[in-house]
């Protein structure tokens, strides 16, 4: 599975970079979303992918019975997902305000801060 997911993550990164290099601010936001998802997946997958062994302690035991997936990267990615949502909502609203005030969708036309 690893080689396949590595290629998939590579494509996600490529898509994110391509969108972030666009001049349209809306596409920039889409690029940002792609990038955060790609980064989360990268951290998760690089830590090792384990099937059917979630990091849970069964009832009545003090430790998992067998080997389980590494919980630490999961905790990190969970935090990252939530933060990425915060960043995205802020970015989306910021872009909307910028569009309202500057009236340009083109990043090249946002050349000064005084409008």
């Amino acid at each position: 599975m690893e080689p396949l997911i590595a290629v998939a993550i590579g494509i996600l990164f490529a898509a994110a970079v391509y969108m972030m290099l666009r001049r349209s601010i809306v596409k920039l936001v889409i690029g940002l979303m792609l990038l955060s998802n790609a980064a989360n997946l990268l951290i998760f997958a690089t830590a090792g992918m384990v099937r059917g062994a979630p990091p849970l302690v069964p009832e009545g035991l003090s430790a998992p019975a067998g080997a389980v997936a590494d919980p630490l990267p999961q905790a990190l990615v969970l935090t990252a997902i939530v933060i990425a949502f915060g960043v995205l909502s802020f970015a989306v609203v910021l872009v909307r305000r910028a569009w309202e005030i500057v009236g340009a969708d083109d990043l090249d036309k946002m050349r000064d801060t005084d409008t």
């Binding site: 599975m1 690893e2 080689p3 396949l4 290629v7 998939a8 993550i9 590579g10 494509i11 996600l12 990164f13 490529a14 898509a15 970079v17 391509y18 969108m19 972030m20 290099l21 666009r22 001049r23 349209s24 889409i30 989360n40 997946l41 998760f44 997958a45 690089t46 099937r51 990091p55 849970l56 302690v57 009832e59 003090s62 430790a63 997936a69 590494d70 919980p71 630490l72 999961q74 905790a75 990615v77 935090t79 997902i81 939530v82 933060i83 949502f85 915060g86 909502s89 989306v92 609203v93 909307r96 569009w99 309202e100 005030i101 500057v102 009236g103 969708d105 083109d106 990043l107 050349r111």
Partner: protein, 781 residues
């Protein structure tokens, strides 16, 4: 001694305050410090003359082995005495020259700071300390040349002097680092004892070249000589002090100091003799082009500095003796002459010697002082300059390498210098009286005291050069010459140097007689002169500005996405290079795969690609949603239920948010050309490819033990939770989660603020009205 130098810096800072208290008497008061140091130095003379070396140590940065150690041997003693002695006289002179000047306190601050830096430079034993003082003299010199800061020419000259000397200073620093590495010590005292090892070291050539570059720029050697005459924009006390007696000799001092460590090799002899000889002749030749008395003197200083370098290069005991005598003689007569030049300027209002005449009637005492000093400059008996010049000619005659050429250059310099001396001493004081901007009258005695004392010293030491024997011997010990018996005398009998002197006297007087005609001829050479080294400096500066402008326009063009692309390409280049050339790319490509997993991954990729290519905003949002939910599924498949739940929630919220907001945003427009898209695609594919390779390389590598074992084992016993991820979030890493909540709250406040408080300026509404107007028109149409 260290305290005296540091105290001098403190006094420099206090100068404005002193000036408030003591007014015009301040310079005289401040002259007491250098005078006291000079007196202390003279008190040390018996020790120095006994051949002892005083090492005054004071730990400065003990961790880096940098000490503020002062090394006082004959060489340092001579320089320190010149600096403090002439310094005291210059301060006295300044009191009159700049009497009542608005910026006198500022001048006193900088010149005192310079004096202490220069003193530190010649006394420093540690290379780093020496370098710090070296740069301090450059900076203070910059401030002094630019003293008349409202004058653009002065500012330009100051900057030029700074660039040339500090540029050389950079080379010098590199040279010092190599020197310390090669000699395994930062102490000059130790380095000069390791000459054999240093000269045999592999780094000898580069380190010598770096040190020479530093010394040559500082001491205005050809082709860096041009900054010194331009530095004459400074007030005359500065010219007398920095640009003839002290600072420009810093490079000479350094060469003399390092002579036992680095000198004597073929490279040393050839580079110093040639550069010195060419500088000598160039300085003397350029001098007679000018009618400005300060320029005449400045170029003759260039000539003198060249002579000193040449003598160091020749390096024979005879040449080194000549070096010491010439050094002393030059400091005495040139200091005096510059101060006389200042008097002339001050009393007549002009610096042009052709505009003066018959001043001996109005200023008899100045005329006498000028005459004595100029005789020494000309190298005529019975002055110290004569002793110096005879010794110089004698050592050139016994030179081994390039003798005819160096002799020719030396002889040219000698007779041209004689002409300069005649111009400076005869032209203003004799001949027909001329109308000068100010009515000339005798200078105040405080102004005359300095030059008079220096002139008297030139005369006295010239009459009895034997007095100098112990001093020359002590200094020679510092330069590392074999301690030969030194016997200076005025009269050596009829020999070849004397014949050369007579010939140069005749030629020099001839030059003086025909100076006006000669100058007219020489002015035809002006276009050629304009292509000198100074033009090279100008071109370099202009080129630097042009390159800076070009690369700023190229790199800092204001398009953030260009910065992004550049950053990514550099990342790909560097990481890719490390990956391919430093790391074996043995990838583990075993594909252990189930169909449903492949389908999920396929959906993910399809969603991402579709989000990029969709022309409609809704379709793009839908594609993003597909990708997000596939990722959630992926988390479910690979043992991460908590992530799956979070991803589902966030993805749902995101889609709602996008649908709500995105439709208030413009439609996608095609803003780029196909070529640009292709270029961006290339950057994107490169970045994506690099990530894939990196990830495969990481996964194929050796697995390190997990750091979460502790958390897995203690989640239930310590955290009382069965979901380990949750326990990590709220217990083991609870502070991180608190921080995360804070970030989210901040984002929420920001979002609320932007949505709630609409811009109430009419400008935005006006813009929107403009935007909608054409649409209406087309509707009507």
């Amino acid at each position: 001694m260290q305290l005296a130098v540091l105290g001098g810096f403190v006094m420099a800072c206090l100068a404005p305050l002193l000036h408030q208290w003591f007014g015009a008497r301040t310079p005289r008061l401040m002259a007491l410090l250098p005078a006291a140091i000079a007196a202390w130095l003279i008190g040390q003379w018996p020790t120095i003359a006994g051949g002892e070396v005083l090492l005054l140590e004071w730990a400065w940065v003990p961790g880096l082995d940098i000490t503020l150690t002062f090394l006082i041997d004959g060489l340092a003693w001579l320089f320190a005495l010149l600096i403090t002695g002439i310094g005291a006289l210059v301060l006295l002179y300044t009191g009159e020259y700049l009497r009542g000047h608005r910026d006198l306190p500022r001048f006193l601050v900088v010149i005192t700071a310079f004096m202490m830096s220069m003193l530190g430079l010649v006394l420093a034993d540690n290379l780093v300390t020496l370098f710090v003082f070296w740069e301090l003299t450059s900076v203070t010199s910059y401030l002094l040349i630019g003293f008349h800061h409202t004058d653009p020419a002065a500012r330009k000259a100051a900057l030029q002097g700074l660039f040339v000397t500090v540029g050389g200073g950079l080379a010098l620093l590199a040279g010092f680092v190599m020197l310390a590495g090669a000699g395994d010590s930062w102490s000059l005292y130790e380095l000069v004892q390791r000459g054999e090892a240093l000269r045999a070291h592999a780094l000898y050539t580069p380190l010598l070249l770096c040190v020479l570059l530093g010394a040559f720029t500082k001491s205005a050697q050809f082709p860096f000589h041009f900054w010194l005459p331009n530095a004459m924009a400074a007030p005359t006390p500065v010219s007398a002090y920095l640009h003839s007696a002290t600072m420009v000799k810093a490079g000479i001092y350094l060469l003399a100091r390092l002579h036992p460590a680095l000198g004597g090799t073929e490279l040393w002899v050839i580079s110093l003799s040639l550069v010195g000889a060419v500088t000598m002749a160039t300085g003397a030749f350029l001098a007679i082009h000018h009618t400005n008395v300060k320029m005449l003197l400045a170029y003759s200083t260039v000539m003198a500095l060249g002579t000193l370098t040449l003598l160091l290069g020749l390096g024979t005991p005879q040449a080194l003796t000549a070096f010491v005598v010439f050094l002393l003689a030059h400091s005495l007569y040139k200091g005096a002459l510059f101060m006389v030049a200042g008097i002339l300027d001050h009393e007549t209002g002009t610096k042009d010697v052709t505009a003066m005449g018959d001043l001996r009637r109005a200023m008899p005492r100045t005329a006498v002082v000028a005459g004595v000093a100029a005789l020494s400059l000309a190298g005529l008996p019975p002055l110290l300059g004569f002793v110096g010049k005879e010794a110089m000619l004698a050592s050139v005659l016994e030179a081994s390498a390039w003798r005819p050429m160096i002799l020719l250059l030396a002889f040219t310099a000698a007779f041209l210098t004689l002409a300069v001396a005649a111009i400076v001493a005869l032209r203003p004081f004799f001949g027909a009286p001329r109308q000068t901007p100010k009515t000339p009258h005798e200078a105040p005695s405080a102004m005359l005291a300095g030059p008079a004392l220096l002139a008297v010293l030139s005369l006295a030491l010239g009459l009895a050069p034997g007095l100098l024997d112990p001093l020359v011997a002590a200094t020679l010990a510092g330069i590392g010459a074999p301690a030969a018996d030194v016997h200076l005398s005025l009269w050596h009998g009829l020999n070849l140097p004397l014949a050369l002197s007579l010939a140069s006297l005749a030629l020099g007087l001839l030059t003086y007689r025909h100076w006006d005609r000669l100058r007219a001829r020489l002015s035809r050479l002006a276009p050629l002169m304009a292509r000198g080294p100074e033009a090279g400096y100008e071109a370099l500066m202009a080129g630097m500005v042009a390159v800076a402008g070009w690369q700023t326009r190229l790199l800092q063009n204001g398009h953030i996405r260009n910065y992004l692309a550049m950053t990514l390409l550099v990342l790909v280049g560097l990481v890719g290079h490390a990956l391919f050339f430093r790391h074996s790319l043995a990838l583990d490509l075993t594909l252990d795969l189930y169909l449903h997993e492949a389908v999920v991954a396929g959906l993910m990729v399809a969603g991402a690609v579709a989000a990029c290519v969709m022309r409609s905003r809704l379709a793009a949002v839908a594609a993003l949603g597909t990708m997000g939910f596939s990722i959630a599924l992926f988390f479910v498949l690979f043992s991460a239920p908590d992530l799956a739940i979070t991803q589902l929630l966030v993805e749902t919220l995101t889609v709602i948010l996008l649908v709500l907001v995105l439709f208030r945003l413009p439609r996608f427009a095609t803003l780029s050309t196909p070529l640009e898209r292709l270029r961006d695609l290339a950057v994107a594919v490169l970045t994506g490819g690099l990530i894939t390779l990196l990830m495969l390389a990481v996964l194929s590598g050796e697995r390190l033990p997990r750091i979460s074992e502790y958390m897995v084992a203690n989640s239930q016993p310590l955290g009382h939770g069965h979901n380990i991820v949750n326990v990590i979030l709220v217990d083991f890493r609870a502070l991180d989660t608190l921080g995360e909540m804070f970030v989210l709250a901040l984002a929420a406040v920001g979002v609320y603020a932007m949505l709630r408080f609409h811009a109430r300026d009419d400008h935005a509404r006006h813009r929107r009205a403009q935007r909608t107007a054409p649409t209406k028109e087309s509707d009507d149409g």
